[in-house]
Symmetry: C2
Subunit: 149 residues, 2 copies
DNA sequence: CATTGATAGTCAAGATTCGTGATTAAATTT
DNA sequence: AAATTTAATCACGAATCTTGACTATCAATG
């Protein structure tokens, strides 16, 4: 994005943090029985619902194109994380339903992220970390609001 | 990464912020005479030095593989952002030297990022934003330190 | 000085991820 | 009933990253 040496900008920091978090998350997921999920799968897994969600809905929530969601779902089906079930309300649509294995992955991914955040919370101190995350949410929201504008 | 609905985790936030920042940065760069730089070019441009830097050094600073840096430099040469000059101290090496156009890009990219940060600083308030960025630096540093461990 | 090992840069092939356009089937609207 | 919209998929291409190997040069050791 821009300079790293003196003062890394927000883009640098966001990129660095994202890559480092991804590294730890998928390393620990691999250790906990999910060695075959890759980062892109996360963009779908994160938005699953035990009751099932349509692919189009997953596409909208994740911001990814329908094709990408389609191939990701293909892979997740092959890996045993989700099933495709016909949607009783609409015969065009299929509901993407997580399997036991899929629910386990989602739960473990959330637990790992929560653990990582707890670690940073202890390091920075509670108030400081909570203020950080609050501000983070707000900055991300404001910056994303610019997108469509 | 994990859930978005209730409480986006750090990975989500970092990813969202990075993408949104990238969108605005490259849109504004395009408006300011740099329509042909793409995000990957930034990982090299950000680490340039007016005096010239070796490709290996760029690779080390950016964390990208030598091949990627090589092809990025190829493209930047074609686009007129940098030149390859022989390194007088080592006949194996070449120094990657920014052109006027390249220096202009780096300056404008930094100005845009600084402007974006100023905007968030006004929105959040100075103390709150400064504390946010301080904490961000620390979290990113600590998380990256885990990488090699 | 000669040989060995390390370093700078590049070539080549493959895998992954993302994007665009078109197609089929079913629902919705007119 | 016809036209439009929507859900999902197919097919192709572009961009990005990874891995392994190769040539030329430097550095170090005997």
């Amino acid at each position: 994005m821009s300079a790293e040496r003196g003062d890394p900008d927000l883009g640098m920091l966001a990129g660095q943090l994202m890559r480092a978090l991804q590294e730890e998350l998928f390393r620990r997921l691999a250790e906990q029985g999910h060695p075959d999920v890759r980062p892109r799968h996360g963009t779908v897994l994160a938005f699953l619902d035990p009751a099932g969600v349509r692919a189009t809905e997953l596409s909208a929530r994740s911001g990814q194109h329908k094709q990408i969601v389609g191939t990701i779902v293909d892979e997740l089906v092959a890996l045993g994380y989700v099933r495709r079930e016909p949607d009783p309300a609409d015969r065009r649509a299929k509901r993407i339903v997580p399997t036991e294995h899929g629910l386990d992955e989602v739960a473990k991914a959330r637990a790992i992220l929560a653990d990582i955040e707890q670690r940073h919370r202890r390091t920075l101190g509670e108030e400081r970390f909570d203020a950080f995350k609050d501000a983070f949410r707000e900055v991300a929201r404001n910056q994303r609001a610019r997108q469509t504008a």
